[in-house]
Subunit: 146 residues, 2 copies
DNA sequence: CCATGTGGTTGTAGAGTACAACTTGAAGGA
DNA sequence: TCCTTCAAGTTGTACTCTACAACCACATGG
């Protein structure tokens, strides 16, 4: 059984290796929806709509970046804006029907890709891995960082 | 205990969440060395020198991208090129002393950050997590993809 | 000695991102 | 009421990362 330091070293290296490839692989697999666009659309679906500022805060992005991303998604008819009647400054963002559909297609392909890569894992291993990732990311959400 | 599909869904979502933040966080933590530069330097250290083509193949990058990255690292005096006497086309890349030092500093800070985020994990959990990440990435290395 | 292949660089273009300056609307106090 | 201050979002600008294509230099095998 390896020592703490070795394990931390491996976790660091392997998570980094994954991160390094994720963007490029996502671009190759789904040229029509970048990793960022995909995550923004997912967030909109999960939250059933939210503000650009919320997206920026959640994903540690500059508001100008989000503004341009949303503009692109709107041009593609995947997202629509609805001005908040209670605060004219606010635009609540929602998926369009086309946005929901595109997201579902890409999500399905991504899911299939992960299924394939995890095909030879048994149910317990999968559950354990999922739990550890949740735990790791939960710490991040509260403290920020790597 | 969750079902296969749920676990795969969670793994997909959490790994994506990590990837989404990795680059930005790395840039914030180590403005002097981007995630890509860091991984290239690490590889050079592990391999005790290699060719630009090898880096491109390993990291799924275009050779022009690697060429420019290396040019930058050379300008910063972190990397040096040595023409292979057996093949004048080949430049074997090596870390300089400064490169080794910079890499060590950034690696130490990254390691400390990971240590902190994993501080409340016990040794067995760490070892388990490390093993699962290794297994996951090993599948990737052979099949490519996400 | 030429044809073909490999290692690497350069030109060009596009995505993603940040920072700063600005516009518009909201909220609160003198 | 009016003015100040703050929050949401957009736009101008610049820089990095990246890919693709065209190219150069060297190597290798007929």
């Amino acid at each position: 059984m390896p020592h703490r330091d070795e394990s931390v070293e491996i976790i660091q290296r392997e998570l980094t290796a994954f991160a390094r490839r994720a963007r490029a692989s996502a671009a190759r697999m789904h040229p029509e929806l970048s990793l960022v666009s995909y995550t923004l659309l997912s967030h909109l679906e999960d939250q059933r709509g939210c503000r650009a500022t919320d997206l920026a805060a959640h994903y540690l992005l500059d508001k100008s970046t989000v503004s341009r991303q949303i503009a692109t998604l709107e041009r593609l008819d995947l997202v629509e804006r609805r001005v908040d009647p209670d605060d004219q400054r606010v635009q609540v963002l929602h998926l369009t029907a086309a946005g929901r559909e595109t997201l579902a297609q890409v999500a399905a392909r991504r899911h299939a890709a992960f299924q394939e890569r995890l095909a030879d894992w048994n149910e317990d291993d999968l559950a354990g891995f999922a739990a550890q990732l949740l735990r790791y990311n939960a710490a991040h959400d509260s403290s920020g960082g790597a």
